[in-house]
């Protein structure tokens, strides 16, 4: 009976995350449109896109490996949802909490990128292979700064558990302000992880057709799109939980509204970044990440270590 309840709860949570992901996609597209002086899509647009794609024909290329081709979107969804279970929402307590959950979240968020790579690789189209290789190249560029920038607050809080981190920072809110550089680095790295402008080389539709997803259509593409939407929510929630842990003990209702407001802030900043920049070349992105982003994250770690030393 309790197992049945757990499954029901997980399904509800999955639906909630899917709903939130679509809402976030709409807000992002609307903000993008408004910043370009356009009206933008109506509120149901992501849902209409999803239903339309689900109702379309699935084409699996003759040359592709059908098993891998079909499995990858499911795997992407699963990994993103699993990562979501580890992140605290309105309280400081996530559903699954243990010492080391920060690292687990970052690694679970790497799996979708790997599935994009494998899906693109196994569809054996030239364009999707170029996109897949670019996805992987990008992964090596932004993954280290992202991990380093999440590491710095953990060093200051003396814990690897995201729950204890949130607890520490909500008790000492001033310490959260010292992580400003890290939060900027994490946000830029998240933009790379979500493959959005200026880091959208893997699916650059003006040069390599559709990139990684060139051969995907119908239901499988819908799943990939949903996974990306959910990844946006999970990535924003991670940044919110690590860098903005304010007002965590004000009850579920106010806490939830605060959580949504914080996510909205992150989405606004990401949309702003998407609007004001144009696409980089792949080697420009790698150079940018290793020359500026990784050192900035290291500076953040040095600040955290120094603070640690001063406190002691």
């Amino acid at each position: 009976m309790s197992a049945l309840l757990l499954i029901l709860f997980l399904i509800l949570e999955f639906l909630f995350l899917g709903f939130l992901g679509m809402a976030v996609e709409f807000i992002d597209r609307k903000l993008y449109a408004r910043m370009q002086n356009r009206i933008g899509p109506p509120w149901f647009q992501p849902f209409a896109d999803f239903v339309k794609l689900v109702a379309k024909e699935d084409i699996i290329p003759e040359e592709a490996n059908p098993m891998m081709f079909k499995l990858m979107p499911v795997l992407a969804l699963t990994a993103v949802f699993t990562a979501f279970l580890h992140i605290p929402l309105w309280d400081s307590t996530p559903l699954i909490s243990f010492n080391g959950s920060v690292i687990v979240i970052v690694y679970l968020l790497t799996i979708p990128t790997l599935t994009f790579f494998l899906g693109g690789w196994h569809s054996t189209s030239l364009f999707s292979m170029i996109g897949a290789v670019r996805t992987l190249t990008q992964l090596f560029a932004y993954e280290v700064p992202l991990l380093l920038s999440v590491l710095a607050p953990a060093i200051l809080a003396h814990t690897w558990s995201i729950e204890e981190m949130s607890e520490f920072y909500s008790k000492n809110p001033l310490f959260a302000l010292t992580n400003a550089i890290g939060s900027i680095v994490a946000m830029i790295a998240l933009q790379g992880k979500l493959e959005r402008v200026p880091f959208d080389m893997p699916e650059a539709e003006t040069e390599i057709v559709g990139g990684t997803f060139t051969e995907y259509s119908g239901r499988l593409l819908a799943m990939f799109r949903l996974a990306i939407d959910m990844e946006t929510v999970v990535g924003a929630s991670l940044i919110v939980a690590v860098f903005l842990p304010f007002g965590l003990h004000s009850g579920p209702l106010i806490g939830f509204v605060l959580y949504l407001a914080k996510i909205l802030l992150v989405i606004l900043l990401l949309a702003l970044l998407r609007t004001v920049t144009a696409r980089l070349r792949i080697e420009q992105m790698v150079v940018f990440c290793w020359k500026y982003l990784a050192p900035a994250a290291l500076v953040q770690i040095i600040i955290s270590l120094t603070l640690n030393w001063i406190i002691k």
């Binding site: 002086n37 647009q45 364009f127 539709e205």
Partner: protein, 168 residues
Amino acid sequence: MSWLAKLVTWARIKSPWIIHFNSGACNACDIEIVASLTPRFDIERFGILLKGTPRHADVLVCSGPVTRQIKDRLIRIYEQMPEPKFVVAVGTCSCSGGVFNGCYNVMGGIDTVIPVSAYIPGCPASPAAIIDGVAKLLGSLQGKKPDEKAEIEAIVKKPLEAETSTNG
């Protein structure tokens, strides 16, 4: 129609993704198609997005007469699109072959090669006419007559405003 079929039809009307294919046009229609994608006309209001790959697209927007050289490519692009798919012929040349009809290197209009759902005449067809044509195509999905538009209020109003401000 069951509610599921209604939902799917609704979604198809609200989210037509297009792919643009030049089958031998003089570029005038292409410029007008690209113009209708700009923020001025803002067709993302209707959920229309330009996609790079035929696998993602629902509507194939063709411009120009079909030259003998491009015929095989056009058929290949069409067959790469997943069902249900629609073809829109933009410009006089793609509707009938235009002045190139009967030319030694030209097959004729788009419908000599692949089935066409909507014809948008004009030399070149203006962005407002293209958006209007796509709206009529979507209306035919709802089972309307050819000269009636889809039930999207914004689609009727907004391009006309844009049109008057462009001319004035």
